[in-house]
Structures are given as structure tokens and as C-alpha cells.
Symmetry: C2
Subunit: 169 residues, 2 copies
DNA sequence: CGCATCATGTAAGCTGTTACATGATTAT
DNA sequence: ATAATCATGTAACAGCTTACATGATGCG
């Protein structure tokens, strides 16, 4: 159900086209929920059918801008506050971090180094976003979420550095 | 593919029955990858067919203990070291953490407090596991992973506390 | 003997991925 | 013109969930 509510959540902030939602999933939500356009367009159609979103404008190239309806806003609120969260996770990176310890020291080091450079890159990106938000000076709703991403990535980065040092001669 | 490799990873440590694997997914891997028995049994059958695991013993109640074959061990290594990681995430808790900021202050507080008590519980559990490992004194392979879980949960806990304080009068 | 738990499986339906397909608009 | 990117969709297949189904063993 997260796809559905992620879409409602993004539309709660700004009315958007399916194409724009696809980009937002790639940018803001990529560390929470991944979705591609082939899933987003059909889901938007279902949500419209259910009366939770509606087309509030049409632009060039047959683009349709969707916005939340009041029932949509209420349904999002209900899910966030009242629905029992599904804590089940499915995170390949985390599986890898878990299993990498089974490798021999050389392979382990290779794997951890690859992960480290990825996390370092992601950290830089997030810090870039934070800087941008600070420069804009506005009260961006998702600023704390960016901060959380930075802190989590920092913890992972430091842990990876320790693992690599432990493996050193 | 993570299910497949998670199973290979667990079997690399200890030969196990499908039932035992189901429990391990629930305990050790629950923060990385969730899987239920209805997925695990068919996957074991596929892995056996592919020659990556084999039945190395039979116990009471028709139980079958599976172990890794050499090709299985090699395939696990290949995946961990050579395969390009899929970084896409799909984590409902994270979606909730992200979208909760859209709620009005009262609802937001409710949602964050529910999350906080969940994380605090999970943290206590992980610290219990760490204590156990220390008491055993052995060199448990997954001790660093437990440590990482504790650090990540600590960061999330502190972030949630800040969010709740920010919302306070 | 009855209940809990161990233990394994299957099937229908939903969710997600990859690939295919098409057309509109803008920039060079 | 033509290439890039904007923009929306569909279809086949793989992965996952929920529910159904069955039987064995150990304990009180």
C-alpha cells in the first residue's frame, strides 16, 4: 500500500503530473520507496477511480496534473495516524551489509569499500540538498527528513570505515 | 534476488530446515529482508533444483536439513562481490517518517510517539542480543551487524525525540 | 486424548520489474 | 530535420501476501 500513500503524500504537497511524480520518487523518496513510471500511471488511474485524486489541469503533451481530493487527504491522514504500520523491510543493501561478513577478508574488504564509496557519494548529495534548503531560507517541510538521511548515512559510513580498518593488516 | 541470496547466506553459516530458516528471517534478518514460509519452501526447492543447496539430513516430522553445495557457496560469493547492488529501497516505516511531517501538529505528535516507542523497544531487543553475544564471549560473525542496528536505531530514536520536542508547546 | 507447536506445502490474487510502444515539444 | 527529453501508457513475467491444507510430535 505504500506506493498508493506515497503518491497521495507527494500530491498533498504539490499537485503534479505522473511524470513529475516519477522524478520526485527518484529524488526525494529514493531512500524510502522506489517506484517507476510503469507503476505510477496505473496507480494514478486507480486513485482517480477511487475518488482520492482528480485531474486539476492539463498541460502540453497531453500531460495531466493531479491533485488530492478531500477524501484523498482524509485517507492519507487516516493511514498515517490510524493504520497499523507494516514494519517489514526489504532492503538489498542491508542484506549485503549483513552477509558480507561471511566472505574471506580480501573479498570482504572489496565489498565494504564499494559500499563505502557509494555511501560517501550519497552523503555528499544529501549535504548538497541541505545546503540548498538553508540558502533558500524557507521552511521546507522535509528538511528534518534530509537531516535524518544524513545522520543515518554518517553512521553507516563510520561503521564501514571501522570494518575496513579491522580487516587491514 | 535477495530472498535467494539471503537463504544461501543463512545456510552458509548453519545448515538448516525451512522451518528454521523462517525463524532466522524473523529474528536476525527482520531488519534487512522479510520472508515467510510460503516463500521460503518453494525457493528452497528451486535452489535444490539449481544445485545450489542439497538435503544433507532428515529429521522428525519429515523435516529436511539443507546445506550449501560448493556451487552454492561460489554463487553467494559471486553475488556479494561481483554483482552490481540494487540500491532501490522499499521501506514503509521510512515512507511514514517522510510523510508524517505533512500532518497537523497533534496528529504528527501521535504518529511520532508511536514510532518512538517502537524504536525504543527494538533498541532494547538489539541491546539484549549484544549482551548475550558478549556473555557468550565467542566470535559471533554477525556481532558488527548487531552493532550497526543499534547505532542506526539510536539515530532514529534521537531524531524522533527532537521532532516530538519541536512539536511541544 | 487434546492442545500447542513443529513442519511442509499449494493457490489465488496483488505488487513490482522489464520491455515494448507511441506521440508531443523544444533545442540545435 | 533530427535528437533529446517530456509525457503517458500497456503487457508479460517475477516476486510477495494471505489463506488454505495437512500431518507429525511432544507435553500435560
Amino acid at each position: 500500500m505504500s506506493l498508493r500513500y506515497s503518491i497521495l503524500g507527494l500530491l498533498a504537497r504539490t499537485p503534479s503530473t505522473g511524470y513529475e511524480l516519477t522524478q520526485m520518487f527518484d529524488r526525494s523518496l529514493r531512500t524510502s520507496w522506489h517506484a517507476s513510471h510503469s507503476q505510477i500511471y496505473p496507480e494514478l488511474a486507480k486513485l482517480e477511480h477511487a475518488g482520492l485524486v482528480e485531474v486539476i489541469g492539463r498541460g502540453p503533451r497531453r500531460s495531466k496534473t493531479y491533485g488530492l481530493t478531500n477524501p484523498g487527504r482524509e485517507e492519507l491522514r487516516r493511514w498515517l495516524v490510524e493504520a497499523e504500520p507494516d514494519r517489514a523491510q526489504r532492503n538489498e543493501s542491508s542484506v549485503r551489509l549483513f552477509l558480507t561478513n561471511l566472505l574471506d577478508p580480501t573479498d570482504r574488504r572489496t565489498a565494504y569499500e564499494r559500499d563505502l564509496s557509494h555511501v560517501e557519494k550519497e552523503l555528499e548529495e544529501l549535504k548538497g540538498v541541505r545546503r540548498q534548503l538553508q540558502d533558500e531560507g524557507g521552511a521546507e517541510v522535509f528538511a528534518p527528513q534530509v537531516e535524518l538521511g544524513i545522520r543515518v548515512d554518517t553512521v553507516i559510513r563510520d561503521w564501514l570505515r571501522e570494518r575496513i580498518e579491522d580487516a587491514a593488516p
